[in-house]
């Protein structure tokens, strides 16, 4: 898996053939890594200015996470090792940031494709509180 820490490498562009839930019409996203916010990364829309998602590496939030791609998702991502697995974070105006463990984002740098896979039937939370994060009292 490509390093998610340290110096910021060049942004990577990804095509999301299905978009993201609630943003199905947006297909192009760019993964931006900024050293000062590492290990956080930004997933920025290439089609809607200002739309971005703050993400964290899935393995940092839950090393035991059991990710199951739904039928057809592996084909959409294409072949290749080194999938990047990210979790979208939400920063409410008050309270702790939360992580959407229910629907991780999976990126395949080898094919430049990505998707957000909803882990239907799992017990993962869409808004798992991140204690100790910004805004947490």
């Amino acid at each position: 898996m490509p390093a998610m820490h340290g110096a910021a490498p060049a942004p990577l562009d990804f095509e999301f053939p299905l978009g993201l839930p609630a943003f199905e019409h947006l297909r192009r996203f760019r993964l931006v890594r900024q050293e000062e916010f590492s290990p956080l990364v930004l997933l920025e829309s290439g089609e809607r200015a200002g739309l971005r998602f703050v993400c964290a590496p899935l393995e940092l939030l839950d090393p035991q996470y059991q990710l199951e791609l739904q039928p057809g998702e592996a084909g959409l991502l294409g072949a290749g090792d080194g999938l990047l697995k990210l979790v979208v974070l939400t920063f409410p105006e008050e309270g702790c940031p939360t992580a959407n463990l229910l629907a991780p984002v999976v990126l395949n740098p080898a094919t430049g494709r990505g998707l957000q896979t909803v882990q239907a039937g799992s017990s993962y939370s869409p808004c798992q509180a991140l204690r100790g994060g910004g805004g947490c009292s």
């Binding site: 703050v54 940092l60 939030l61 229910l102 869409p126 910004g134």
Partner: protein, 82 residues
């Protein structure tokens, strides 16, 4: 919550136009079939949750300090350098 017991092959009707049929029961999983007007979306609850959370995430505007605090917290969790 209104509760009814149904077996495979049985159905319930919601209002005048929506039918939900239990197609198969296997272990802890139930296969349901829906007949509903085309204008009514039938989606898994988890997909709705993912949509709602993406909208909330897109609207949230963390400051640089928020991001750095969150990044530090994640690094502490992983035992990495801060």
């Amino acid at each position: 919550m209104f509760v009814i017991r149904r077996k495979a092959g049985e159905s319930v009707r919601i209002g005048e136009t929506i039918h939900v049929t239990v197609l198969e029961v296997s272990g802890s999983r139930v296969k349901l079939g829906f007949t509903a007007p085309a204008e009514l979306a039938v989606v898994r609850h988890e997909l709705l949750q993912a949509r709602e959370q993406n909208v909330a995430a897109a609207r949230s505007t963390p400051s640089g300090m928020d991001l750095q605090a969150c990044a530090s917290a994640l690094l502490r969790r992983s035992g990495g350098p801060e």
